[in-house]
C-alpha cells in the first residue's frame, strides 16, 4: 500500500473499479466497524470486540476469517457478502491526518485503479462524480463515528457485558484451530444489565452483536468448503 493525498492535479483522470477495491482485505480477518453500522453488518458477520495492539483499547470488528490473515469471504476477485462494512466500501480511499488537518488519500497501488473502471472521480464536466460523493459520505461517517463508537465500547465495559471468546473449532478434514483475542457480548450479562442501559438503541446494538455470534457457524462452513475444494484439487482425476 502506498498512500498519496488526493489532488485534482494528480488524480483528476483516475477511474476506479470498486468491486476490485476490496483486494487489500483478502488477507484481513477482522474489519473495524463504527457504532451506527453494527446492526447492519451483524446480519451477515459475527461482530466481536478486539484489542488495538498499540493502545490496548477495544474496538468493534466484523469477523471474516478464523485465523489471522484469512478472509473466508474473499472469492479471488471480490468480497462475497450481502452487506459490507464502511471500512471496505471506502477502499481505496483513506483519511489522513486528524480534525481540521484531515485530508482524503488514495492507495496508489490499489488494483481498483483501472483506466477501464466504471467510476470516475471527476466527471467530464469537471465536478465530483456521484461515486466520489458517496465515498466522501462514507469517509465522513467513519470519521464522525469514532467518538460514538468509543462511547458505546465504554458503555459495554461499564456494564460488564463483555467476555472473552475463544473459538476452538474442528473442521471436516480433522484439522482444528483456536482463535483468541475476541471479546463478545455475553447474553446472560446483557440480561442482567438491561435495566441500566438507558438508550434502547444501545441495547439493540449489543443484542445484535450477541446474536451475530451464530454466524461463526457460517464461517466454519466456508472453511470446510475451502478445504473440500483444496482436497479435490489435489485428488488425481477429480
Amino acid at each position: 500500500m502506498k498512500l498519496a493525498q488526493l489532488t485534482r492535479t494528480d488524480h483528476a483522470d483516475l477511474r476506479i473499479d470498486p468491486a476490485r477495491a476490496a483486494a487489500s482485505a483478502a488477507t484481513v480477518h477482522l474489519v473495524p466497524l463504527v457504532a451506527d453500522e453494527i446492526r447492519t453488518v451483524a446480519r451477515q458477520f459475527p461482530v466481536f470486540l478486539a484489542k488495538d495492539g498499540e493502545t490496548g483499547a477495544f474496538y468493534p470488528a466484523a469477523l471474516m476469517g478464523l485465523e489471522p490473515h484469512e478472509n473466508l469471504f474473499w472469492n479471488g476477485s471480490t468480497i462475497d457478502a450481502d452487506v459490507l462494512p464502511l471500512n471496505l466500501l471506502r477502499l481505496p480511499f483513506f483519511v489522513g491526518g486528524e480534525g481540521a488537518e484531515a485530508v482524503i488519500c488514495i492507495d496508489t497501488e490499489s488494483p481498483a485503479i483501472d483506466p477501464a473502471g466504471p467510476c470516475p472521480i471527476v466527471t467530464a464536466e469537471g465536478s465530483e462524480s456521484d461515486y466520489f460523493r458517496s465515498v466522501q459520505a462514507i469517509l465522513g461517517r467513519l470519521v464522525q463515528g469514532q467518538e460514538p463508537t468509543r462511547r458505546l465500547v465504554d458503555l459495554m465495559l461499564e456494564h460488564k457485558v463483555v467476555r472473552e471468546f475463544k473459538l476452538d473449532l474442528a473442521f471436516h478434514d480433522g484439522s482444528t484451530s483456536l482463535l483468541t483475542g475476541l471479546y463478545g457480548i455475553d447474553e446472560v450479562a446483557l440480561g442482567r444489565a438491561r435495566d441500566g442501559i438507558a438508550d434502547f438503541a444501545d441495547l439493540m446494538i449489543m443484542a445484535a452483536m450477541c446474536l451475530s455470534q451464530d454466524h461463526v457457524g457460517a464461517l466454519v462452513r466456508r472453511r470446510n468448503a475451502r478445504l473440500a475444494a483444496q482436497a479435490d484439487w489435489f485428488t488425481p482425476g477429480a
Binding site: G53, E54, T55, G56, L157, V162, G181, Y183
Partner: protein, 516 residues
C-alpha cells in the same frame, strides 16, 4: 461459656497512615462495606518512612480487591514493573558475578524438577554451563533485555510473565487515602495521638487525639511505625531483636533523577558491598538507591564512600538520608484488641521486599477473619500470632540463606555471616538435606509459607551451592530436555514480542490497560 452477652465488633480504628495503615483500611473497608465503621487517624504532618518500594506479585490481587484499576495505580504511584531481583557480587564479589531470583517458576515446576538435571550437567561441565536461573526460566532473559512482562493489550493486573511492582510508597499512601475516603467510606482524622484509655480487661477503649479527644473502637490496628505506640508502648509487648542473625542496622538512601527515555530496569538490582548491599530500584521518574549496612562493621563515612562509588558523579548533588533499622519483630502481633501491621510489627532489611507483602498478608487476614464478637477475637488473635511468627521466622531464614552461601571473605561482615552461631538451626539442617536432595514442596508444607521451594532453588544454585545428583532423580530425562527446550523457545518468542519496560510505561501515560 460465661453468661455475659457477646460484645459485637462494629468499629475498627487504624492508628497511623502510610502504606500499612491505608492498605489495611482499604482491605477491611472493601470487604466489610458499611457493616463495619473504619476510621484511620494519623498525624498527617508527621509523614511516613516511605522507603518500601518493591512489592511481591501479591500486590496485584491486593489492589484489585481494594478496587483500584491498574492504570490509575501505576500512574499515581510512578510505578514500574518488577520481574524479580538480580543479585550481583554476592557469591564471589567479582564484577561478573550475578544470578537472578525471578518471579516465574522453573519450567515444569513442581511436577517436574529440573534441579537434578541442571546439577548433573553442571557436574559434567565443571561449572561452566549456563546459570540455573537462566537455564530453567525465561524471565532472566527478559530482565537482561530490559523487556516488560506484559503488553498494552494485557488486561488489568494480568501479564505474559509473572510480575510485581516498583513504586513510590509515599504516593501509594496518598492514592489509597483518596480511594479509601472517597470510595470506601473510611473516616479520616488528622490528629496527634497523645494517649489511650483502657478497659478493665486490658483492652484499649479509645485512643486520645490532641484535638478530637477520645476515639473509641472495638478493634485497633497499630500502624504507628517503628514506635509501635499501641502494641509496644501501651500493651507492653516486647520487641525480639534478630540482629544476631541479620546484621544490617542502617540504611543510607538517595533518589537519583533519571532522563526521559532512559531504560528502566524491570527487576530490583541488589549489589553486595563490603559491609552490606545496595538496592537499586528504577521508576519512570527516578532511581531509588540505598546502602543497607552493618554499623558494627563499618562507620557512616565508609558506607557513604561505597554508596558514592556506586552512584557515580551525580552523588555529590544528592542528600543521603540515614534510616536506622532494627532487625526483629514483636513477641506477639495481636494482643487483646490491638493488632500491629507494618513497621509496628517489625522490620527486616529489604532484601526480598518482605515489608509490603507482610502488610498485605496481615491486613488480608484481619479483613477476612474479622471476628464478629470480642469473645471470638482471642482465638483469631492466637491463630494470627502463630501464623505471623512462622512467617517472620521463614523470612529471616531465607534472608540469611543469601549470606551463608557467599564465598566472599574480603571483610569481617561476610565472614561473620557464616559463623554457625548466627545461623538458625533449621536452616543449617535444611542445607545438609539439600546437599543430596533439591528443595522441594515436601520441605515447605505449611499453608503459611512465604517462599516456595523454587525460590530456595534459585538462591541456592545461584550462590554456587550444588546438590549431588542421584540416579533416581534423573528418571525423566526426556521431559527435562523438553522443558529446557521450551525455556529457550520462550526466550526467542518473547524477545520478539515484548516491548521494553520504558516503552510500555510511556504508553501507559496515554493509554489504559483494558479491564479484561
Amino acid at each position: 461459656m460465661s453468661g455475659t452477652s457477646p460484645r459485637a465488633i462494629r468499629s475498627v480504628c487504624i492508628v497511623g497512615g502510610g502504606s500499612a495503615g491505608w492498605l489495611t483500611a482499604g482491605l477491611i473497608a472493601a470487604r466489610h462495606g458499611r457493616d463495619l465503621a473504619v476510621t484511620l487517624v494519623e498525624s498527617v504532618s508527621r509523614g511516613t518512612i516511605g522507603v518500601g518500594e518493591g512489592t511481591w506479585p501479591t500486590m496485584r490481587n491486593t489492589l484489585r480487591k481494594i478496587g483500584l484499576a491498574e492504570t490509575d495505580f501505576m500512574r499515581a504511584c510512578h510505578a514500574s514493573f518488577k520481574q524479580g531481583a538480580k543479585f550481583a557480587r554476592w557469591r564471589t564479589g567479582a564484577a561478573d558475578d550475578f544470578y537472578y531470583h525471578p518471579l516465574v517458576l522453573p519450567e515444569g515446576f513442581p511436577d517436574l524438577d529440573l534441579a537434578p538435571y541442571w546439577n548433573s550437567a553442571e557436574q559434567g561441565s565443571g561449572n561452566g554451563g549456563p546459570s540455573f536461573s537462566d537455564a530453567v526460566c525465561f524471565q532472566e532473559y527478559l530482565c537482561e533485555q530490559g523487556l516488560a512482562p506484559k503488553l498494552m493489550t494485557s488486561p488489568d493486573y494480568a501479564g505474559i510473565a509473572n510480575y510485581a511492582y516498583h513504586l513510590d510508597a509515599v504516593k501509594l499512601g496518598e492514592l489509597l487515602a483518596a480511594h479509601c475516603t472517597g470510595k470506601l467510606g473510611v473516616n479520616h482524622i488528622d490528629d496527634e495521638i497523645v494517649g489511650v484509655s483502657r478497659r478493665d480487661d486490658g483492652d484499649i477503649a479509645a485512643v486520645i487525639g490532641r484535638d478530637s479527644g477520645a476515639i473509641a473502637a472495638d478493634l485497633f490496628v497499630d500502624c504507628t511505625g517503628f514506635s509501635s505506640r499501641l502494641l509496644g508502648e501501651a500493651l507492653d509487648v516486647p520487641f525480639i531483636d534478630r540482629s544476631d542473625v541479620l546484621f544490617i542496622d542502617r540504611a543510607l538512601a538517595v533518589q537519583l533523577p533519571v532522563e526521559e527515555d532512559s531504560p528502566i530496569a524491570s527487576h530490583t538490582i541488589s549489589t553486595a558491598q563490603k559491609h552490606g548491599w545496595i538496592w537499586d530500584i528504577g521508576l519512570p521518574t527516578r532511581r531509588g538507591i540505598g546502602y543497607v549496612y552493618s554499623s558494627r562493621h563499618a562507620g557512616a563515612d565508609r558506607a557513604e564512600e561505597e554508596l558514592a562509588a556506586y552512584v557515580g558523579p551525580g552523588f555529590a548533588k544528592l542528600n543521603p538520608r540515614e534510616i536506622p533499622i532494627r532487625s526483629g519483630h514483636r513477641a506477639q502481633f495481636w494482643k487483646n484488641n490491638v493488632v500491629a501491621v507494618g513497621l509496628a510489627a517489625g522490620f527486616l532489611e529489604p532484601l526480598e521486599a518482605s515489608a509490603l507483602v507482610l502488610i498485605e498478608l496481615s491486613a488480608d487476614y484481619i479483613a477476612t477473619s474479622m471476628p464478629a464478637t470480642r469473645q471470638a477475637m482471642d482465638f483469631v488473635a492466637r491463630r494470627f500470632n502463630s501464623m505471623t511468627r512462622y512467617r517472620w521466622d521463614r523470612i529471616i531464614e531465607f534472608l540469611k540463606l543469601h549470606y551463608v552461601l557467599s564465598e566472599r571473605s574480603d571483610t569481617a561482615f561476610w565472614r561473620d555471616n557464616r559463623d554457625p552461631a548466627t545461623i538458625p538451626q533449621d536452616l543449617q539442617d535444611q542445607l545438609e538435606l539439600w546437599r543430596d536432595t533439591p528443595p522441594g514442596e515436601h520441605d515447605f508444607a505449611s499453608a503459611h509459607e512465604m517462599f516456595p521451594a523454587a525460590s530456595y532453588q534459585y538462591v541456592l544454585y545461584g550462590m554456587g551451592f550444588r546438590t549431588r545428583p542421584r540416579a533416581g532423580q534423573l528418571a525423566q530425562r526426556d521431559m527435562a530436555d523438553d522443558a529446557f527446550a521450551r525455556t529457550a523457545a520462550m526466550k526467542r518468542k518473547l524477545g520478539q514480542m515484548m516491548p521494553t519496560n520504558r516503552a510500555l510505561l510511556d504508553k501507559l501515560a496515554q493509554h489504559r490497560f483494558p479491564p479484561l
